[in-house]
């Protein structure tokens, strides 16, 4: 997903000299094609995310579309006020790219778990928030954000995600994308946890329940229409995200449902409890927090029972 995203931004940058990539000294092996192909549109801002973000805003105010690139919480929490004041408030065309949403860098420890980023970015006015599920969604988000006015946040996985669909017909900012139609249960996912949700869907189908499945590559603006439509047609809505249970996709969906008259129940699946002290890879930590396909299926069956 990461490589596809960068490849797409590079394609765009080759024809639009105002598209720039600024990295916080990360992207070894990933960004090389970028700096080799369009060196005048690439900057290594060093390990200095606050300046990277203010600087990107300054460049954007001069007409550039600037992608800032780093991993985990470094491009967001480390420089949150720069994002708020310098990027969002100035409606600056800064596109903040985080590689490693959730537990991608699981074994590296808590510092590298980006598990509150969606909530924090979503709460800032003037920022659109994206978490693509696979390579195709990432490429679509890359193209969409390049042309989307203002500040965006893009949370990426690292690679090896399960492919959602062959191609995306009509990608629109703020629109969820259907994967399959079912009944009784609708599962909404964002980011690369999709693979687990898809596995859960297979298990549920084996148990006689074919769930509806949507990916939400855009978390903000949230797709109210799809949420409300599904809430009318299903008894249970399930949100699934590799993110703290507070403030992310589940919360966004809850906000929509709470203000509607829909009768559907909501089950929010995400990271609950305190910071992760366990050591392990992404799959291991997902299991620890009940977010594998099997666990997701069990939790849904329990909810339906």
């Amino acid at each position: 997903m990461r490589d596809g995203f960068i490849r797409t931004v590079l394609e765009l940058a080759k024809t639009d000299r105002n598209i720039e990539m600024v990295t916080g000294d990360l992207g070894f092996g990933v960004l090389k094609p970028f700096w080799e192909a369009v060196p005048d549109q690439f900057i290594n801002a060093g390990i200095a995310e606050q300046n990277m973000t203010s600087m990107a805003a300054g460049m954007a105010l001069e007409g550039k579309t600037v992608y800032t690139y780093s991993i985990g919480n470094f491009p967001t929490l480390r420089c949150l006020e720069q994002i708020r004041n310098d990027c969002a408030y100035h409606e600056a065309n800064v596109k903040i790219v985080c590689v490693g949403g959730g537990f991608v860098y699981g074994s590296l420890g808590m510092s590298h778990h980006a598990t509150e980023d969606l909530a924090v970015m979503r709460s800032l006015p003037g920022i659109a928030v994206f978490a693509p599920a696979d390579q195709a969604e990432a490429a679509a988000v890359a193209r969409a954000t390049a042309g989307y006015p203002g500040t965006c946040y893009i949370r990426l996985g690292r690679g090896g995600e399960k492919k959602v669909r062959e191609s995306i017909e009509h990608f629109q900012v703020g629109k969820a994308l259907p994967v399959q139609e079912g009944s009784g249960v609708a599962i909404f996912t964002t980011g690369d946890i999709y693979g687990e949700a898809a596995e859960a869907a297979v298990l549920l189908e084996e148990a006689g329940i074919r769930p509806t499945l949507y990916t939400f590559p855009t978390v903000k603006p949230i797709d109210r229409e799809t949420i409300l439509d599904c809430a009318c047609r299903h008894e249970l809505i399930v949100t699934c995200e590799e993110h703290n249970i507070l403030g992310g996709l589940g919360t966004a969906v809850a906000e929509v449902l709470a203000e509607s008259s829909a009768a559907a129940q909501l089950l929010r699946l995400g990271i609950e409890g305190s910071y992760c002290t366990a050591v392990g890879d992404q799959k291991y930590l997902r299991r620890l927090y009940g977010l594998t396909g099997e666990q997701i299926a069990q939790r849904i069956l329990k909810e339906l029972a």
């Binding site: 200095a48 300046n51 300054g58 004041n85």
Partner: protein, 314 residues
């Protein structure tokens, strides 16, 4: 308008609008009035009738709490009506205490310290990439240099050889609670900038000729920083070097009358005072209990036992 006249106007308007609004940071505006005046009277390229003119020099007030200095300058130069200055801090006004890019002529909003220089670095990079010849100027506070992000930006500017970038540090030697020299002090500010790879010019920040000369200098491949030694509260003796006037505004009575008359005592030729054309006759004078000419710094009453608070000679 000469730079001397503009500098005086900045001071006079600032006394008036902080008096009316109860706004803070009069001392911080007075210390940089001369810097702003020389920049806008003699150095920057701009078009008041076309604030977004492509060829303009960019200006970012990194010490955004001195926003009044920029608003007044822009109003005096015709970016918006001078009368609007009286709405400073008021409900429904465009003129927030910290500087706002919603005001014509303001290139960037600031207010949280350590951001403006980063914005300026980005603007300077964009200008270089686009082969444009305008320059980018930013004014920082010396207290602001406590912020780590300032030094992130300083490193970037030196590394990218931004010789189209000029930073001016308003070195009034005071910050919110105390002298800089006993708040996170770790050696000379000029030495720090030099060690970060900048071309450092140290001067008296109230000397217009020195400022003019420095602000028009250029050295290929290196950003310039002017470390301008200034006096907080300059031109109004009872405010000078008194930290009280970082936050306090001139109240009715001796404070306002004294401030206005202090300015009239140094009014240059050919400049009009729109509020009190002849100063204030029969001004109220400070009484025996007036809180004046006292040391209000934290260090005057802060006596920890585990380290020695530095003595600072005023």
């Amino acid at each position: 308008m000469t730079s001397e006249q503009l500098a005086w106007k900045i001071c006079r308007h600032d006394v008036e609008i902080t008096h009316i609004s109860g706004g803070s940071h009069i001392g911080a505006v007075l210390s940089m009035a001369d810097i702003m005046a020389v920049l806008y009277a003699d150095v920057l390229r701009y078009r008041p009738e076309e604030p977004k003119w492509e060829g303009r020099d960019r200006f970012v007030l990194s010490k955004g709490h001195a926003g009044a200095a920029l608003y007044i300058t822009l109003a005096e130069l015709g970016f918006f009506p001078v009368e609007e200055l009286l709405t400073y801090y008021q409900n429904g006004s465009r003129l927030s205490g910290h500087v706002s890019h919603k005001v014509p002529g303001v290139d960037a909003s600031t207010g949280s310290l350590g951001h403006g220089i980063g914005l300026a670095v980005g603007m300077a990079i964009a200008a270089k990439q686009d082969r444009k010849t305008h320059r980018v100027f930013t004014v920082l506070g010396d207290g602001e240099c406590n912020e780590g992000s300032v030094w992130e930006s300083a490193q970037a500017a030196a590394n990218f050889q931004l010789d189209n970038l000029v930073a001016i540090v308003d070195h009034n030697h005071m910050q919110s609670l105390d002298f800089c020299e006993r708040t996170l002090y770790s050696g000379s500010l000029a030495d720090k900038w030099r060690s970060f790879g900048w071309n450092v010019i140290e001067l008296n920040g109230h000397d217009h000729d020195a400022l003019r000369a420095a602000l028009t200098q250029k050295k290929a491949g290196q950003p310039i920083v002017i470390v301008a030694h200034t006096v907080k509260g300059n031109r109004i003796p009872f405010m000078e070097k008194d930290i009280l006037w970082h936050y306090r505004f001139p109240h009715d009575g001796w404070e306002y009358d004294g401030a206005v008359n202090a300015l009239h005592a140094c009014k240059p030729e050919g400049v009009e005072d729109p509020y009190t054309p002849n100063g204030i006759e029969n001004p109220v004078l400070p009484g025996p209990d007036a809180d004046i000419y006292r040391d209000h710094t934290a260090g005057a009453t802060y006596h920890p036992t585990w380290f020695q608070v530095q003595e600072v000679s005023k």
